[in-house]
């Protein structure tokens, strides 16, 4: 995949590497990788976490997202004209693109905090971690958080359907129900 992506991007790449992410990214995905997300987890997160993921994250750590955002994202912010061009072929593949976007959009936990937590919990104080591994770990935790919220929403709507309580607010009980399976899955 790296070579493919690289070639796809060479044509419209002309940018400094630092660009804060914006909510538009789903549009960029279809060309290179949208087809790859058909599994359970992917579609689950598609259903639940959706576009705001990308949007909301941008506010959190604009400065640090460079590392985890991939080239499609980068490209998009280069030029408005690129954006338009990309938008044209986007619509049909949106859901899958979204799954991809979620996977690669900036994680909900700021890298600095995550690094701190990591070093807090390893047994040996001098354990080191590479930058790439840290980014990937942040991604992993990001998926974990989104998945937890998505499943909680699922639990909520189930409870609302069976008429237990009025829906709307995610409750601790929802989290209690999903936690065991969630932790097994991660």
């Amino acid at each position: 995949m790296p070579p493919k992506a690289a070639t796809a991007n060479n044509t419209r790449r002309k940018a400094p590497s630092f660009k804060p992410p914006r909510p538009v990214d789903p549009a960029a995905q279809p060309s290179t990788t949208a087809k790859r997300a058909p599994t359970a987890a992917a579609s689950r997160s598609t259903g639940a976490a959706k576009p705001p993921a990308a949007a909301s994250n941008s506010r959190f750590q604009p400065a640090t997202t460079i590392i985890s955002s991939d080239e499609e994202q980068d490209d998009e912010f280069d030029l408005p004209s690129d954006l338009d061009e990309l938008m044209q072929d986007a619509p049909e593949e949106r859901p899958q693109a979204r799954a991809r976007a979620i996977a690669q959009s900036s994680p909900p936990i700021p890298p600095a905090l995550l690094a701190r937590l990591f070093h807090e919990h390893v047994e040996e104080k001098n354990t080191q971690i590479t930058q790439g591994a840290m980014d990937l770990f942040g991604n992993y935790i990001g998926i974990f958080v989104r998945e937890a919220i998505a499943r909680a929403k699922e639990e909520r709507s189930k409870a609302a359907r069976s008429g237990e309580r009025s829906g709307g607010f995610l409750q601790v009980e929802d989290l209690e129900k999903l936690a065991p399976q969630l932790v097994l899955d991660f």
């Binding site: 992506a5 909301s56 690669q104 390893v122 990937l136 935790i141 909680a152 607010f169």
Partner: protein, 133 residues
């Protein structure tokens, strides 16, 4: 770990920080969608995520030690996903994307370093990753 009072306090502060972050994240998500979360939910979620980070951190450390390394690298993170194929695929995509971006950056910034940068990165980690899965 948190045996002394200092440790306890530090843990509390880290948790507060995480709480805040997750609260923000949930809020942002809920603005665009028709749901909301009770503060208790956010607290519980914080606790869950905190524990997950703690466990995963220790796992990562042990994985890298088992591989005879002193530095945690991306292989170790991929090993975290060994029980969930879909998750593994997502992270793999992410990893490939990161790697491609890295290669490209090096290519752009230091034209001379091109040969060294990309192949070594892609080759080394991919090979190892396959062996482990």
């Amino acid at each position: 770990m948190a045996s002394t009072e200092d440790d306890l306090e530090r843990e509390e502060r880290l948790k507060s920080s995480l709480w805040y972050t997750i609260g923000q994240f949930v809020d942002e998500q809920s603005i665009d969608e028709s749901f909301n979360a009770t503060p208790q939910f956010i607290g519980a979620l914080t606790e869950l995520v905190y524990t997950q980070i703690a466990n995963a951190s220790r796992d990562l450390e042990v994985f890298s030690k088992h591989a005879g390394r002193k530095v945690v690298n991306t292989d170790d993170v991929m090993l975290l996903t060994r029980r969930n194929e879909a998750l593994e695929m997502l992270l793999k995509q992410q990893l490939d994307a990161m790697r491609a971006a890295e290669g490209r950056d090096e290519q752009q910034q230091v034209p001379g370093a091109k040969k060294r940068g990309r192949p070594s990165g892609a080759g080394a980690v991919k090979g190892k990753g396959k062996g482990k899965q």
